[in-house]
Structure formats: C-alpha cells, structure tokens
C-alpha cells in the first residue's frame, strides 16, 4: 500500500520532467537579469544574525538583486540542509551561509554548487572544499591585538592586568591569550599580566571570579575578558563595586549586553566585529562570484559597496578587517 503511494508521488513528480527543463531555463534567464541572494544563518530569531542579514539585505538592495532570508529555528545541520536543497532547486544565484557544522552540510552545498549556485560562508566556515569563499570576521591576531591595544591605552601603559577567560581548554581564547602575552612582552614592558582566571562562560562563575580577582590583586588596573559572557558578568560586578571607574575593563562583548555598563561609565570601550558589515561584505562577495567578477581564487579583487575594495586571500578567504571598537558614541546604533 505504501509502495503505491510513493509510486504515485513519484509518477506525479516524474511526469513533469519537461516542466522541469522549461522552468529551469526561465529560472536562469531571470537570474541573468536579476541576481537572487539568499541568506541562511545558523538559526532565525538570533539578534546577531538579524544584524548581519540586515547588512546583507542593504547590500543586495544597493546592487539591485532579490534578497531572501531563510533558516531553521534551531541551529542544527540537518535542518539547514533542507534550506540548502531548497535554494538549489530554486537555482538561487548566491547562497550566504553560516554553517552549523563544517562537514555535515557539505554534500548539500556541493550539490547546490553543481546546479550553479555560488556559495559564500560567513561567521562559521565549512570545510574549504565545499564553498566558493569564506568571509572571515577577524583573524586571531587582529582580535588579540585590539584587546591589548585597548587595555594598555586604558591603563596608561603601566601596571597590573588580569584576564577573565571562558573555559581553561577553550581553543580560541587560549590562542588569543598566548598572542596577548607575546604582544605585552614585546611592546609593553611595564604592563604585567598577573593572573588568568576562568569563568567557564557561566554568568555566575564569571561574576564570582571577578570579585576574587579584585580581592587577590588590590593593585589591579585592568581586566581583559575575551568572551561575551565574561565581560558582561565582570561589568556587572564592577558597576556596583568601589572599583568602578578605577579598574579598566575591556574585551569582546555584544552591544546589547554592554550598553548599560557603557552608559553608566563602568566600561569605556570594548571590541567585536560589526556583523552588519560582515553580512554586507558577504552579499557583495556572493554577487561578485555570481556575476563572474571573481572565481574565488587567491588574489581576486572585488568592490564591496561603501566598504571599498577587497582581495581574496589564501584558501579563498576574505577578511572583513580590523575588529570594531564599541564606545559610548556608537553603541546606540547597534542592536545585537
């Protein structure tokens, strides 16, 4: 019985093989006149991706393409695959993805590419073999350097500082901390890193570790927290302690979680990339691939609207640029 149903479904679908061909050619004909760019974030309803995708929409409107945003409710790779398949069927000119899994979506992405869709990843990359281009928000060097620069400037290039990190085995954070240490030793001899503590990306633990840090190092002048959970918890502790305004806190944070602490003077500035710019650049990269301006090989150049000209680096990676510094003047423009 079930066989009959599936069979009839198959027949009704197969019977339209000719339709398939005609709609296909009409699809690509319209694509030649108007580029269709689809954004596929990790999940919908996430303020970070709302911001990046809004940047993408702005770019697509600037170059006169059609913009769409699709995505699953939860950040799972299998749900993302369904949307990649749909984009392949629709013969979308450019698909901009933040990958939920570097490998799991590969087959689907490659199938879409065979059907003619150009695929750009942003925020989270896939395996380099299954995308045309990756738009990287920041390099590890850039992230480490902006935090070192902010903290050394904030404390007048002399005194004790400490780091409140995520977990002790967080790969990203450890790589940045190593670079910060090297930068300090080479360029800031009077700044001394006295302690690295771990808040495990847990709000309460980070809060308690900040308290302990200030107690055990009374001469502490600065704290770096290279994690969004950590910096917000540290700021919350500082804002009600007598060290407010005396200990300089910076790191990586999101504007929404830091707004009140920037406004009340606990935090002067902190860094992250601008997701809006990231989406804007990714959309222009997809356009450049789809209209044949670039193929994605190293050395290719393309213009990304108001952001200017970009060059494709090794492994088909485009770098957005230096991290973005948020402060009291610009923080109200952001909502993520």
């Amino acid at each position: 019985m079930a066989a009959a149903i599936i069979g009839s479904l198959g027949l009704s679908a197969c019977g339209n093989a000719t339709d398939d061909a005609t709609s296909g050619s009409s699809g690509s004909a319209s694509a030649a006149t108007k580029l269709s760019i689809t954004f596929l974030p990790k999940n919908l309803g996430n303020p970070y991706f709302d911001t990046s995708d809004a940047g993408g929409k702005k770019a697509v409107e600037e170059f006169g393409g059609t913009y769409a945003e699709v995505g699953p409710q939860t950040g799972s790779p299998d749900a993302q695959v369904q949307y990649i398949n749909t984009a392949a069927q629709q013969r979308t000119s450019g698909l901009v993805i933040s990958a939920n899994d570097p490998k799991a979506i590969c087959d689907a992405v490659n199938q879409a590419r065979q059907a003619g869709t150009k695929v750009v990843t942003f925020d989270s990359d896939t395996d380099p073999t299954c995308r045309d281009l990756f738009v990287n928000q920041a390099t590890a060097e850039g992230i480490a350097k902006v935090q070192t620069d902010l903290v050394t400037k904030g404390i007048g290039d002399t005194g004790e500082i400490a780091i409140l990190s995520a977990s002790a085995n967080a790969t990203n954070q450890n790589a940045w901390i190593d670079m910060i240490k090297k930068d300090l030793a080479a360029n800031h001899p009077n700044v001394k890193l006295v302690d690295v503590v771990y808040g495990n990306d847990d709000d309460q633990t980070s809060f308690d570790k900040t308290a302990a840090l200030l107690q055990s190092h009374p001469n502490l002048k600065g704290i770096i927290s290279p994690t969004t959970v950590g910096i917000a918890a540290a700021a919350r502790y500082l804002s009600t302690s007598d060290k407010k305004g005396k200990v300089y806190l910076t790191g990586l944070g999101t504007p929404n979680s830091m707004k009140e602490f920037v406004k009340d003077g606990t935090v002067k500035d902190f860094a992250l990339w601008n997701p809006g710019d990231l989406g804007y650049l990714a959309a222009f990269a997809a356009k450049a691939l789809a209209d044949g301006t670039i193929t994605g090989k190293e050395g290719d150049k393309f213009t990304a609207g108001s952001l200017g000209e970009y060059t494709v680096g090794a492994d088909s990676v485009v770098l957005l640029g230096d991290p973005f510094v948020f402060n009291a003047e610009n923080i109200d423009q952001f909502n993520f």
Binding site: L44, V70, Q90, A104
Partner: protein
C-alpha cells in the same frame, strides 16, 4: 423483522470513501497536483528525492511507533536513540572498527535501549510516558557525554554516498527500499497476524486482552524492542546521510514522529489507527513543508500551519465519528421510533 449485522453498517464504498486513509490520500494527491501547477520548481523529481531523504527517519520510526501508540503506550526516547546510535557509529568508526561492525553494534545498542524501556513499562509496570521521558534524557545524555561537543565526520565515502544514492536514475532514494520492506513487514504484523490483533486488543482494554489470551507483557516488550532497533537504524542512516555523528543529532525528532502518527489517524488513547494512514500523514507533513519552503515561507509559519493541521485532524476524528450518526437519523428508512418517551407526556 429480523436484521443482520450488515444492515447496521454502511455500504462498502461508503466505508472506503469516508475512511481516514482515503481523506488523507485525497489531501496528499490534491496538494501535490496543486503545488506542481502553482509553485515554481515543485514539479521536479528533485522535490520528491529531497522529500523522501528528509522524511526517511520519521517514516521509519513511525512504523513501530504506530503500534506502540495503538497499545495506548508511547515512546518519546526514539530521537535520543537516534542520537546515541549516531554517536556510537561515529566513535567506534573513529577508533578503527570496520564501519559495518560499528553499524551492527549501533543497532544492538538501539535494541538494548528498547529492552530497557520495554522492561520498565511491561514488567515493572511503570507508565511509558514517564519512563521514556526519563530515557529521552538518559540516552541523549550518554550520546552527548560520549562525543562532547565534537563531531565525527570521517566516514568512508562509499558509505555516505550509499545513504544518498538513488534507485537507478529514478530519483527515488535508496533508503526507500529498506523502508518499503519494513513497511510491508509491519503491515503484515499489525494487520494480518494474531500478534497485531493482540496489539489492538491491548489498546482497547488491557484487562480484556489479558483474559482473551494475549501475552500483554511480551507484546509490549517486543514493540519497544522494535522502536529501539528501528530508531537505531534511522540513526545510522541519519549519520551517513549527513556524514556527521553528533550528540545532538535529530533532537526533537520524537515530536515529529508522534505528530505524524496522530495526523495519520491513530488514537492517542489506543486501539485505533492503521499504518497506511500514518505513512500518508508523514508524507503529507513533508509535502506541505517542502512546498511552503519553496514558496519562501519561514519556518515559524510552516510550524504554525502544521500545528493547526494536527489539531484540526484530531478534532476531525470526533467529527467523523459523529457524522454517520447524524445522517442516519435523517434518512427515513432507518429512523428510529421516537414515540416511547416523547408521546406519553
């Protein structure tokens, strides 16, 4: 005037037309015909290929789940079994075991999961809702604990391409073959065997089933064993299809399975429902979401529509049950005598 039992039933064509399965089939065919004509890119073989690839895990697990729900029980741990078997397949393959052996061990693990559920429900006598909510957390916890946040992605190419390959060049995915074999076996078991009669009897009344000679405990245990092993098989397929073994694979799949089973006309109180309706239910949900996705409708709206459909379908069961009674009262030939209570007063 004596009447036979047949006089009280509807003619055969009417029973067929008003049946749940006929309505589902009409809806499905109508939807497909409409979508082919109205939605660009729907009328391609690719739509069917993706539809079957995507719904295969739900289709597979829905087979034993139908029987479990007909007995009045439920198994909410199936998605966690999918996750656990996925992780085992990945972890064992990574440690150097041949993938065929790893797959067999993953299936055995699924059987063990089913045995635990079945033992607790059938022999200890605990309510299946509570037991399987517990094992949902337990099996998922084991899966995530084994692999942590990492994913195993190094599977032999010939195995991963097997999971997405097609029967010839028909566009029908290969996974349809084991599904059809299983569907046939389950249909025989449920609708044409004494074991299947027992399944319905348990759903209608456990006590009556026991007195009429049904081995209630054994039947329930066997059903949980079946959901366990079929879920593990779905897990192996899921892993190979995406080439990725993760602890959080297929999270939330259990609700999709239960929703499809209920949409297919199986009563949550047990005793009623057929496999064909369930298979149609899965395909109907899959077709609706695939058509809406092609239209660019967002996932939230798709979920709202499927949710509303599910509620409507559960309500329609009561409406359908009420409808024949209504029409019979109107028909003059069979109208019952109303005099006794009304006239005298």
């Amino acid at each position: 005037m004596s009447r036979t039992y047949a006089d009280y039933t509807h003619p055969w064509w009417r029973r067929l037309v008003v049946s749940r399965e006929a309505v589902m089939l009409a809806l499905l065919v109508g939807l497909v015909v409409w979508a082919v004509g109205n939605i660009v890119f729907f009328g391609t073989t690719l739509t069917m290929t993706f539809l079957l690839l995507d719904t295969a895990p739900v289709l597979l697990i829905a087979l034993p789940m139908t029987m479990v729900i007909i007995t009045g029980e439920i198994d909410l741990s199936v998605a966690s079994v999918v996750g656990l078997s996925s992780v085992l397949l990945g972890d064992l393959t990574r440690s150097g075991m041949p993938i065929a052996l790893a797959a067999v061990l993953a299936l055995l693990a699924g059987l063990a999961c089913g045995a635990l559920n079945g033992y607790l429900v059938a022999y200890v006598g605990l309510p299946s809702l509570a037991v399987t909510i517990g094992t949902l957390a337990l099996f998922r916890g084991l899966a995530v604990g084994l692999l942590g946040t990492t994913a195993v992605t190094d599977f032999p190419k010939e195995w991963t391409s097997l999971a997405t390959s097609q029967v010839g060049s028909t566009g029908v995915p290969l996974i349809t073959v084991p599904f059809l074999v299983l569907a046939g076996a389950f249909a025989l078991l449920l609708h044409f065997s004494s074991f299947g009669r027992g399944v319905y009897d348990i759903g209608l009344s456990k006590q009556a089933a026991l007195f009429s000679g049904v081995d209630v405990r054994r039947t329930v245990l066997v059903l949980f064993l079946l959901t366990g092993v079929v879920s593990a098989f779905a897990g192996v397929y899921f892993t190979l299809r995406f080439g990725s073994a993760r602890g959080d694979n297929a999270t939330g799949l259990e609700l999709q399975v239960v929703a499809a089973v209920l949409l297919g006309g199986v009563s949550i109180f047990g005793g009623r429902g057929r496999l064909l309706g369930v298979v149609l239910g899965v395909l109907l949900i899959g077709t609706i979401s695939s058509a809406l996705r092609l239209q660019g409708v967002t996932v939230n709206v798709i979920n709202i529509i499927i949710g509303a459909l599910l509620i409507a379908s559960v309500m329609s069961t009561s409406v359908l049950a009420w409808l024949p009674g209504l029409t019979r009262r109107k028909s003059p030939g069979t109208s019952p005598q109303k005099t006794p209570s009304g006239v005298g007063s």
